[in-house]
Amino acid sequence: MTAAQVAATVMDVRRKGDYVALRLAAPRIAAGARPGQFAALAVGGSDSPMLLRRCFSLAGWDAGGIEVVLAVTGRGTAWLARRRPGDVLDVVGPLGQPFRLPERPQTCVLVGGGYGAAPLVPLAAALRAAGCPVRMALGAAGASRLMAVAAAEQIADTVTVTTDDGSAGRRGRVSDVLPDMLTGVGTVYACGPMAMLAAVARLAAGAGMPSQVAVEESMACGVGVCMTCVLPVIGDDGRTRMTRSCLDGPVFPGDRVRFEAVGTVPADAVGAP
């Protein structure tokens, strides 16, 4: 289950809406993978002017390989989207803390925003395998930014889709439909933009149920050595620390993340100035 650095051959590159799905031959990473973990991909080759790895949720895996699904948002993702089968990528994974599965079967709600849906598909599969009914809510800005709806429909008991512009599913945000989905639910899981996670964690807490959120902070190393990926998280001792999301996250209990203080160092954080 420790992470490994591997040379992974690209097996398949497919366009899916606004996303590109890369399937990579990486059995060592696949062997240890759990839902919510991520992989860090080097970009641009060995003399690349892009020094930092790009991190992507593990969107799926089997004995032979892993899949990541990416949105092209900058130079590194553009480079990755240009890869072809047979190309070899330098990949580190599986990284980070996975979603925790419930100790016994209970109904779970999974909320994904944009490419935040990626880790929810393997999570849904794992929950179903553990006997948990699964309700999913997937939202995006528009239809082409929705991800994994078909896969979700195969696995989940119910799937609710929202788009900001109404181009697919219900017009609005996933957080609008969430309250109606919480009856009889054990745990809420979420992955997506920070504002969405904050809303989900708040709604879950309001309904008196635990949530687990996978956050996304800029990461320089992905392996815990650089301290760029921190956010204020409350520890078991009740004290807030600037916590590495690559090592201690990306999944945190929703009630531990100080969402209102992300992007700041709260005055009560350990070591605050």
Binding site: S48, R53, A220, C221, V223, V225, R241
Partner: protein, 324 residues
């Protein structure tokens, strides 16, 4: 990790302490080593230079703390860390138990704080050497960075020197008009050697938000982009102080990069930002460096130090097969 074909003895000596190899991790780029263990055998390296530790725990700067730039990156971590107590309780023993040489980097806001840190480290098991990060604002001097003032730097080095008897290296900033002036001042105050260089101050602007990328506005520039500046600093310091050992760093990502530093006058090197691209980089760089030294006929790492200054006859242009 060392290529068995390499007959070269990898050991290097810095100010009288022998290290297993010429390559170290750079401070702040390897935490205290533990997180890198899945990716390389830390025990083959010269040692781990730990993230600069301060007296008290420190939360660091708000995010965003980094920006990628052309062949470089900016960081403004703000020395987040657990403080010396937790460091002595957790981090240092982890290295000591595994027989990994620890070069402990310390940082403070006054000469007195540095001295106190050195005192706390006195006799700590596993401690091989101190690296003094003087790129911190001096609260007693209107926030001027110690490394930017010969007097400020000397105060710190003297305060540390008094408290401890392992070798002490001063880590110099390139952001000065005359780095040799600072180097001399540190050595005169008792530094056994010099770490060259820390990051360059830089800025990046986000053209979407129209604001600085970093919450702290400025950050430290590192990575291959700065290698020429780092080599220049090593060159100048070695030319002026040829007997003072230098731990060279700045943009190293291959064995040939490291070789450039030795030839310019460094006795050993640290690998920093390259770790983010390749967590196994320090071991890979060391292996490539030793192979490159052997290919060039060097019998020991120390033989290559400062060779580019030309005290020996120049070589014909030769292809060693490791250039591409």
């Amino acid at each position: 990790m060392t290529d068995p074909a390499v007959r070269l003895d990898p050991a290097v000596s810095l100010a009288g302490v022998t290290f297993r190899g010429p390559v170290f991790t750079a401070s702040g780029c390897a935490a205290a080593g533990r997180e890198l263990a899945p990716y390389l055998d830390l025990g083959t390296l010269g040692g781990v230079v730990t993230k600069s530790v301060m007296r008290a725990p420190r939360a660091g700067r708000p995010t965003p703390r980094m920006a990628e730039t052309a062949s470089g990156m900016l960081n403004s971590i703000g020395l987040q860390g657990p403080g010396i107590e937790a460091f002595l309780a957790g981090d240092l023993p982890w290295l000591a138990e595994r027989g990994i040489a620890a070069v402990v980097s310390i940082a403070g806001h006054s000469a007195q704080e540095y001295g106190e840190l050195a005192r706390r480290l006195r006799g700590a098991p596993g401690l091989a050497m101190l690296e003094v990060n003087i790129s911190c604002p001096n609260v007693e001097s209107r926030g001027q960075v110690f490394a930017c003032s010969a007097a400020g730097a000397a105060d710190v080095m003297a305060a540390v020197r008094r408290e401890i008897d392992v070798p002490v290296f001063a880590k110099l900033s390139p952001d000065v008009t005359d780095i040799v002036d600072i180097a001399r001042s540190c050595v005169a105050a008792g530094a056994d050697g010099l770490s060259v260089i820390n990051t360059l101050l830089g800025v990046a602007i986000d053209t979407r938000t129209l604001r600085p990328v970093l919450s702290a506005v400025t950050g430290g520039l590192s990575g291959p982009a700065i290698k020429p500046v780092a080599l220049r600093c090593v060159w100048q310091v070695h030319a002026a102080l040829p007997t003072v050992p230098i731990l060279g760093m700045g943009g190293i990502r291959s064995g040939l990069d490291a070789l450039e530093f030795l030839l310019a006058g460094a006795s050993a090197v640290s690998v920093g930002t390259a770790i983010f691209a390749d967590p196994g980089a320090p071991a890979r760089v060391q292996c490539e460096l030793l192979t490159a030294l052997a290919a060039r006929g060097f019998g020991a790492v120390a033989e290559a130090v400062g060779v580019a200054h030309g005290l020996t006859a120049p070589r014909e242009v030769v292809a060693y097969g490791d250039e591409l």
